[in-house]
Amino acid sequence: MSAGLQLNNLTVHYGHKRVVDDVTLAVAPGQTLGLAGESGSGKSTVAMSVLRLLPGTARVDGEVLLDGEDVRTMSWGRLRAVRWASASIVFQGAMHSLNPVRRVGEQIAEPMRLHGTEGSVAALLEQVELPRDKARAYPHELSGGQKQRVMIAMALACRPRLVIADEPTTALDVIVQAQVLAVLTRLVAEQDLGLLMISHDLSVLAATCDELAVMHQGRLVERGRARQVVADPRHPHTAALTAAFPVIGDPAHRWAEPAVPAEPLLRVRDLTVDYGRTRAVDGVDLEVGRGEIVALVGQSGSGKTTLARAIMGLRRPSSGRVIFDGAEVPRSGRALKAFRRQVQLVLQDPASALNPRHTVFDAVAEGLRVHGLRGDEEALVTAAVERAELRPANLYLEALPHELSGGQQQRVVIAGALVLGPRLLVADEPVASLDASVRGEVVALLLRLRRELGLASLLITHDLGLAWQIADRVAVMHQGKIVEQGSVEQVLLTPSHDYTRALVRAVPALGPGV
């Protein structure tokens, strides 16, 4: 009888598909283990198997020992008693893991009533540094970080000995992520809990866990002390994962060629955008040169997306000017449409940006049709698709989005932008939803497009690593204002504004000595 979690030769099948393959690992109270892997690597299936939450179609073999008892063979009654009391899960609560029509206080209290645990919701909220009156709030009234704190408070409500955190900070901003991770690690250490943390982000795991295990195609491919695994990966897949999270300041992770000063293509002068009484963009000056990649970084709510919309003519500014190629951007009519052809948008999530019923050909050709461009449609589309490195194009043209991988989908979105021959790409978190291994390829594609076509990019991101990797200049946006801008080295290595320093500090450090 050992306390904590012990998985012995865990194997999970869906039909004939093996999603978890012979995984053996253990987490004792007081230990922290990070489980890394891409989507589809089986890491979440491992987490779900601990409390037997997998759907009925899953076949689970091996042993799942929770405090020495096999979860697989428990009676339903015993299983319900063990759930949340012996081990609890912090889900990716920022999304949909809280019930939208119940107050969060009720949701925290629910397992306490069920398992007869003493304690108060107010004390739990205090632990996660939330004011106690938030118990009366509904999930939609909380920010992403607050929701995640509620999830943590809920997970600790029945004082389990083991907490499983499944992507607890994905979709949160760097600064909020750092705060949530700090709360989680503090509580785990204070209460001497075991922590199994699952993430695709090695840097998050390295910052919070002592040990690290890496999964790939259902198998554990590497395991060891976290710092050692990150610093000296043995398995090529681990190496690919570490490479995907660029270390700011490391010249090896800087892919952009030194920029040649170019004459400005886009100039934003004293731009202000209001939403009712809220000033979303406040007197912004910004320039993007021909063939230059400028990263616009900031937290969500900082106004960077509004700024991008105003630049593209999708949102009418309250005052100020946007000058493209020497001429003021028209605000309406045919001229605006012609301008939009030159500035194309690439969105974060290709799966939702693409119409699921349109083939690749239709998706790419749509822009041509909207702009009434005549000529050999097929040749133009094929060229754009090949430019986006889907080669040979005829293999992909008739494919539907669901038949493509995430990286391929994002290439289709990029091809749809390229087909119009734009001069500026506005990319809103272009790699945030991509897996580590394809992320690098898409980043490289953006750089190659710049080199070959002289395509300038305005990169909207909260990922400072991405900025370090490919941007020439960085502009930092905070509460609607650009608080700092300059070359990448200058802004990220020697930040002068307090907010930039906080942003840089919040990035989880990968490995020692960085």
């Binding site: 939450l53 009391a85 999304m95």
Partner: protein
Amino acid sequence: MRLAGRLGGAALSLVMVAVLGFFLFRVVPGDPVVSMTRGRPTTAATQEALRAQFGLDRPVHEQFWSYFTGLLRGELGTSFTFRRPVADVILERLGPTLLLVGTSTLIAVGLGLWLGVRAAWRRNSALDRVTTGVSLTLWAVPTFWLGMLLMMVTGDLFPSRGMRDTDTPPDFLSQALDVGHHLVLPSVTLVAVVCAEYALVMRSSLLEELHAPYLTTARAKGLRDDVVRRRHAVPNAVLPAITLVFLRVGLVVSGAITTETVFSWPGLGLLFYDALTGPDYFLLQGLLVVTAGAVVVMNLLADLLHGVLDPRVKVV
């Protein structure tokens, strides 16, 4: 602010209904006086007198004005066929309709939502297949055919015409039992049709929630399966169904036309039928305003209730 907006929108809809009600029956072909006197020998002078009596000889804008101001005072004109104020006729028929529609709605809501929840929660189970199959059939079947089928199958078990027998003793209990007895067949018919729709909508709404991550959270907490369903899944899935239920209730006031006609139930539906066969223009106009008003009011109620049940919707 939002509440004021909703109320204003509803009021505007009601005005539109009133205006539409007036002009709709002015553009349909046919002379009301001719149809009123159909089958009776009349002289041109009698027809003129009738025209004057119903105000049909005045210019359209004057007619509209007296109609509209009358509406504000609760007057809907005079029925040709009943020779009585339309408002009185409608009011008299409102009770039986509310009894029939109210009873069958309560049963249909309870049964339909319950069946829908059960069917979705155990998808592809025997209960699901039976519920879905029967619901689709009932939904597709014409109401009058279903009503007549019920009459034939039950034989003399239940009365199939009217609301009460003439020879029932006048005391309250006997009267109530008699009405209840008469109510069985029409309400079963109405329940069958409406309940099927509720069950199908509730089922598909819950199926969409079935894979929601918050249900996994609830299960991970150690909640029993039925508690997960009752406390977490249903409160979310019921929201779209609520809107439908209220909209349906508004429609059913007039939608019971077939059922009431088949069973000669003396409610608004039967009145509608009689007014159409007349045709009795003022009565039709009044019925249109009342039933369309019911839909508007029910829709408003659904909106308000939605705001109470779903904290994400702020009505007030």
